[in-house]
């Protein structure tokens, strides 16, 4: 019976079920960090995946933690640690529940079936995520599996691991910026204006590309493609049609609003500097009069803001 439980079949064909998984970049980072910090003798890291099942059935993997385990010959998980950590995590975010487990290494190995069985008791239909930290095939393969029981009549024969599609598009990582996350050392965080510049450059490059493509098609260098044409048309059609005067007014109005705000904040800053100077001057002279001057200035400010704000809205 034990021999049967150890059997693991691995099919890499496309899955029959519609189940899929989505992984948060934090999970990958966590796994890598745990792998780098693993104990001397161990070769792989195993841990619990936390997250939730979205209404459409996608498993959303949002968090993870490593669980110490014994080495390969003896498959044993530190269950107490696992439970302690789970309780701690749920104190912070009760909505995150166990959705599966991960291990490093390429694909499913023999011992995986046992771990999987353990996690099947913790969560219904757990997902098994493998992260190839060894870059065995030269690529860091990240794969997700679910287990399907193969049974003959009432008898359970084996557990079959089926690969499920894994969504690796990481909007969260994009928000932070891959430039920061993929280089080993970044000396300085980009400021907002630098980021803006980069974004604009990319946008302009894209527009240039489109221009070139359209020119090439018109001149007959490239064969036309109706789908691309429709995309371009849709994009242009999504711009609201405005008369030039209306557009100018729109732009100028917002420009003026912005200028006003800029002016206001600069004035405030000047006032602050001035107020500070006057305050210290008051202390030097030991005379109360300059402070009341500051006060006048300070008092003036809110009313100015209120009256200007009414306009900017």
């Amino acid at each position: 019976m034990a021999a049967i439980e150890h059997t693991a079949l691995q099919f890499s064909t496309s899955p029959s079920s519609s189940l899929s998984a989505k992984v948060h970049p934090l999970v990958i980072f966590n796994i890598c960090d745990c792998y780098v910090r693993r104990p001397d003798q161990s070769e792989r890291v195993i841990g619990t995946l936390l997250g939730s099942v979205l209404p459409d059935g996608t498993v959303d993997i949002r968090n993870s933690y490593a669980v110490p385990h014994m080495s390969a010959e003896q498959v044993a998980l530190d269950i107490e640690y696992h439970h302690n950590m789970l309780i701690s995590h749920q104190k912070v975010n009760p909505k995150e529940v166990i959705v599966g487990w991960y291990s490093t290494g390429l694909g499913v190995t023999g011992g995986s079936a046992l771990f999987h069985e353990f996690y099947s008791r913790e969560a219904p239909n757990p997902v098994h995520l493998t992260v190839d930290t060894g870059f065995v095939n030269g690529v860091g393969a990240i794969k997700a599996y679910v287990s399907v029981n193969l049974s003959l009549g009432d008898r359970q024969l084996a557990a079959q691991f089926q690969e499920i599609p894994l969504d690796l598009r990481m909007v969260e990582a994009e928000r932070v910026g891959y430039d920061i996350l993929k280089t080993p050392m970044v000396d300085k965080l980009p400021t907002d204006l630098e980021g803006m510049e980069a974004s604009m450059e990319r946008l302009l490059a894209l527009i240039d590309d489109v221009y070139k493509y359209v020119d090439n098609v018109v001149e007959g260098h490239v064969e036309q493609d109706n789908t691309i044409g429709r995309f371009l048309f849709d994009t242009i059609a999504s711009l609201p049609k405005l008369s030039p005067s209306a557009f100018d007014k729109l732009i100028n109005d917002s420009l003026q609003d912005n200028l006003l705000l800029l002016y206001l904040s600069s004035i405030t800053r000047t006032q602050l500097t001035l107020a500070e100077k006057l305050n210290t001057a008051a202390q030097y002279a030991g005379m109360p009069s300059p402070v009341s001057a500051t006060l006048l200035v300070g008092n003036l400010q809110p009313s100015v803001i209120v009256s200007q704000r009414g306009r900017s809205r």
Binding site: H24, P25, C32, D33, Y35, V36, R37, R62, Y65, Y81, S88, K91, V92, N93, T133, F135, G140, V171, E174, R175, V176, I180, L181, K182, T183, P184, M185, V186, K188, L189, T191, L193, G195, M196, S199, R202, L203, I251, S254, L255, N258, L259, L262, S265, S266, T268, R269, L272, A275, E276, T280, Q283, Y284, V291, S292, L295, G298, Q301, P302, R309
Partner: protein, 337 residues
């Protein structure tokens, strides 16, 4: 001859004791993602968490962190929170995570973090850890496509003053401390392990436009600016309240000075009369007289913090308007084409 030599040796020893100042905070990408995840999930509620890492010379390495559960006022739960913290640190140590507290992180709403509570937390941490840092993340600002992370610490001179709790104008002038000098911002470096960098290079989408570009090119900034202005106005009101306090104080002070002058004048006249009559003159000072009781000067800490806050809002407004200028001109140029 031996004594000065020994003293200089002692001096050398003493100077070596002084730690080099904190110059850079080096954060792992993992920590950034963890902080962002925690703060975003609970936004707009404000959350905090603990930073773990190593203190290496002038660099403070932040290698891991964990979130705190949302705090409640109950005492029982507070004890629970302490247990949670210990338990979490024990668990993390078991998987070889650095077990040193180096500070904490917290989320903020449009940078409205400069409060007395923050300073108190800082002082609490500072008692236990020599060098600690607070990382501030602004989820709202990050929606504009900026990585709004900041590492702060209290300046040493401010901490000295805070310990003695002496925020009179004279003391501040003596220390030459202005509102700019309360917090020190420390530059942030980001580091990633080679393994993570390999994975991220592998996983990077090959689309030319990423999410933060969309965020940055978003044309509507007015809600953000409006909130900023609202906060600014509130701060202005607070500041004028503070100023009124000072005005009141100075008015009282000048009234008292006038009274003192009048009293001394009177005493002098009296003394002159006594002299003419051949009597001993009375002393010109009388500490028992209520006129000479010094008036307590209101603390300037609050007005300093408010001023800091205001300048922060101003900076944010400047930044955002600057960005929207470029956006607007871009839109204009695109439309004209």
């Amino acid at each position: 001859m031996a004594t000065p030599g020994a003293r200089s040796f002692l001096q050398v020893a003493a100077t070596e004791e002084v730690a080099s100042p904190l110059r850079v905070v080096q954060i792992e990408g993992l920590v950034i993602l963890k902080i962002i995840k925690h703060c975003k999930e609970f936004s707009p509620a404000l959350v905090t968490g603990q930073l773990l890492g190593l203190d290496v010379g002038s660099v403070l390495e932040v290698t891991n962190c964990f979130p705190f559960p949302v705090r409640e006022e109950d005492e029982e739960i507070e004890a629970d929170g302490a247990n949670y913290q210990l338990e979490m640190m024990r668990c993390l140590r078991e998987v070889n995570v650095d077990n040193n507290t180096v500070g904490w992180y917290q989320s903020t709403l449009l940078g409205s973090f400069q409060t007395v509570e923050l300073i108190e937390t800082f002082m609490n941490y500072q008692e236990n850890i020599r060098r600690c840092v607070c990382i501030i993340y602004d989820p709202l600002k990050s929606n504009q496509g900026v990585l709004a992370l900041k590492a702060l610490k209290l300046s040493d001179s401010f901490m000295d003053l805070y310990r003695t709790n002496n925020f009179t104008g004279e003391k501040l002038r003596e220390k030459n401390l202005s509102w700019v000098d309360i917090f020190e911002e420390i530059p942030i470096k980001v580091s990633n392990s080679a393994l993570i960098s390999a994975f991220m290079t592998e996983l990077e989408a090959d689309t030319p436009v990423v999410q933060c570009d969309y965020d940055r090119l978003q044309l509507s900034t007015s809600p953000f600016l409006e909130r900023n202005m609202e906060f600014l106005i509130e701060c202005m009101d607070d500041l004028s309240m503070e100023q009124q306090k000072f005005q009141y104080y100075y008015r009282n002070l000048s009234r008292q000075q006038a009274q003192q002058q009048a009293w001394i004048q009177k005493r002098r006249l009296e003394n002159m009369a006594r002299k003419a009559a051949g009597d001993e003159p009375l002393p010109e000072e009388d500490p028992s007289n209520p006129v000479f009781k010094p008036l307590p000067e209101p603390s300037r800490l609050d007005s300093f913090l408010i001023t800091n806050q205001i300048s922060n809002y101003c900076n944010q407004i400047n930044g955002v308007t600057g960005q929207s200028f470029s956006r607007l001109y871009l839109t204009k140029a695109l439309h004209e084409n």
